[in-house]
């Protein structure tokens, strides 16, 4: 990557943000921040939020939004745990991903065929999926059996590899594949075109409806996979699993340089955005601040990031 390309990437703001944040945390709380426990937590939850944020970024780049990802994340997690006794670990993993993909597909079809705003459709999806979680679990907590915890698949997804949380390896592998998909394939070109100007893309024969459906399904799949990863690491469900995660994911994508106007964004930026959001949560815990401050900090960071990214985009001559 040349210097010119680097300064033109939408993720530049997030890169600068990460550097400033790490410098600040190191200065104000060196001993609290750079501990094995904090880093392990931050890595694990960055990976999980990173998956959801990458999916969200793809949808935002299509000029749509998906508010249902937190509920889909929770639903996939609940499906994974509750179906395991009947289907086994690999079977329930597959079932969880299919359920997530279906949730994305149904909402996407409503958006493109019904020509409805995705904000409303996925808000409906948020409530619907959350309601299903409540009914399905009956509000009770479910656990993995000892055998399921020790299943090789569970350990491969939720354990540690080379002393580092396994989730981060999955994030890197999937993130690389998604970057190739977005920037180096015809599908990616058509996705960016659809977000940039749907009418122009369609005039060139791009089936923008299909592109959007694919983006929503990918987004739901990534959220579902993140849910499974979480449960493999901590195999216990709760009805609130994934609540407010949609807002964290959107924040991460926006901090990472995705423009809600569509057509521009960065998957690496979305992951770095997730890193920033998660880091604030654990640094506040490490500082002993009341955890309720966390949301306020995310809000402030989000607004600062948006202002910064807008200035950056204007400097690069983009219409925003």
């Amino acid at each position: 990557m040349t210097v010119k390309q680097l300064t033109h990437t939408q993720g530049l703001g997030a890169i600068i943000g990460v550097v400033i944040m790490l410098a600040a945390f190191t200065m104000i709380d060196f001993s609290g921040w750079w501990t094995r426990q904090t880093i392990a937590n931050v890595v694990q939850f960055t990976a999980i939020l990173g998956f959801v944020a990458m999916g969200q970024a793809l949808v935002i780049m299509c000029k749509e939004i998906d508010l249902s990802v937190g509920s889909v994340y929770g639903l996939a997690g609940v499906a994974f745990i509750t179906l395991e006794p009947t289907l086994g670990v690999p079977g329930s993993l597959l079932a969880a991903l299919v359920i997530a993909a279906l949730a994305g597909l149904i909402q996407a079809i409503a958006v493109v065929k019904g020509q409805l705003p995705s904000m409303i459709v996925t808000l409906g999806g948020l409530f619907t999926a959350r309601g299903i979680i409540y009914v399905w679990t009956g509000g009770s907590v479910h656990n993995f059996s000892e055998a399921a915890r020790n299943h090789p698949v569970t350990r491969l997804l939720g354990g540690e590899l080379f002393g580092i949380e396994a989730a981060i390896f999955w994030l890197i592998a999937v993130g690389l594949a998604l970057n190739l998909l977005l920037w180096a394939t015809p599908f990616g070109n058509q996705l960016l075109a659809t977000g940039g100007s749907k009418e122009s893309a369609e005039s060139r024969g791009v089936r923008s409806d299909r592109v959007k459906v694919a983006a929503f399904v990918l987004c739901a799949l990534l959220a579902g996979f993140a849910g499974v990863l979480t449960l493999c690491d901590r195999p216990q469900t709760h009805v609130t699993l994934g609540e407010l995660m949609e807002l964290e994911a959107i924040s991460a994508a926006v901090i990472g340089g995705c423009l809600l106007a569509g057509g521009r964004g960065s998957l690496v930026g979305a992951v770095l955005g997730a890193f920033i959001v998660v880091s604030f949560r654990y640094e506040l815990i490490a500082l002993g601040a009341p955890s309720s401050w966390y949301i306020t900090f995310v809000g402030v960071v989000l607004i600062v990031a948006v202002i910064f990214n807008q200035i950056l985009a204007r400097r690069l001559g983009h219409s925003v």
Binding site: G196, S197, S203, G205, V206
Partner: protein, 259 residues
């Protein structure tokens, strides 16, 4: 000039947008190797008609035949696949993408690695660079630059260059010389004639009857969604055709007032 059956045949075409009657019983033939000027005032239905031909609108009733085959489904992809290339006024380029990416949008060249189709960046860059140089874009504009950077004329050049590069059987130009300098305009008009001489059908949409009369074999005039004239340029002068546009408007207005 014309031979046998028409390449595009439009029969009794009607198109409604809700209650708005945008095309009214339009029938017109277009032949290969012909340059047809499609003329009329704003809102006459010129752009709507060509949007049917390039698959962006599906007619409410009536038939369209392409090369003798009835068109059943209307979609831009199908039209492009059949060799109908359209240069539209306001759409066709995505500002957020590079020239090379825009150039090949919807028909990206790929290089397969392990069966996965990856964009063939070398082909995309080389071909689009050659075309933008040929069409006189500034020297400091590269194929990797986003379209956002381009001037109105340069955008038009990219669209025309793309149409020429992928020319197949039909090139439809919707006000191709808008926003262009005098020299650029001449260049575009020369290209239109060249394409026709190569045996393509060129449909040239404009307000300017005098400009297109010099190029076209035939002029089709539209007014309020209807075809009101269809005449060879050897039979009618530009002045006569201009008079038709003027009178035609009144004829339609009078008819509407009566009904």
């Amino acid at each position: 000039m014309t031979n046998g059956h028409p390449l595009i045949q439009v029969k009794n075409l009607d198109l409604y947008f809700g209650a708005f009657h945008a095309l009214k019983n339009v029938s017109v033939d277009f032949h290969a190797g012909e340059l047809v000027g499609l003329v009329g005032d704003n809102g006459a239905g010129k752009t709507t008609l060509i949007r049917v031909l390039c698959g962006m609108h599906t007619p409410t009733s009536g038939e369209v035949y392409f090369d003798g085959q009835r068109v059943e489904k209307f979609h831009p992809k199908l039209a492009i696949d059949q060799g109908i290339e359209t240069i539209q006024q306001s759409v066709g380029l995505c500002d957020n993408l590079s020239i090379a990416r825009n150039f090949y949008l919807g028909r990206e060249p790929v290089r397969r690695i392990l069966g996965i189709p990856f964009l063939d960046f070398t082909t995309m860059r080389d071909k689009s660079t050659r075309v933008i140089r040929q069409f006189g874009l500034r020297d400091n504009v590269s194929a990797d630059d986003e379209v956002e950077r381009l001037s109105g004329g340069e955008r038009q050049s990219v669209k025309i260059g793309r149409a020429v590069e992928f020319r197949n059987r039909v090139v439809i130009m919707d006000e191709p010389t808008n926003h262009l300098s005098v020299r650029e305009r001449e260049h575009v008009n020369e290209l239109a004639v060249q394409l026709k001489k190569q045996g393509l059908l060129v449909i040239y949409i404009t307000h300017d009857i005098f400009q297109v009369h010099k190029l076209a074999d035939r002029i089709v005039i539209m007014e309020n969604g209807e075809k009101i004239e269809d005449a060879s340029t050897s039979k009618m002068t530009a002045e006569q055709l201009e008079e038709v546009i003027r009178q035609g408007g009144r004829v339609v207005e009078r008819r509407e007032a009566l009904s």
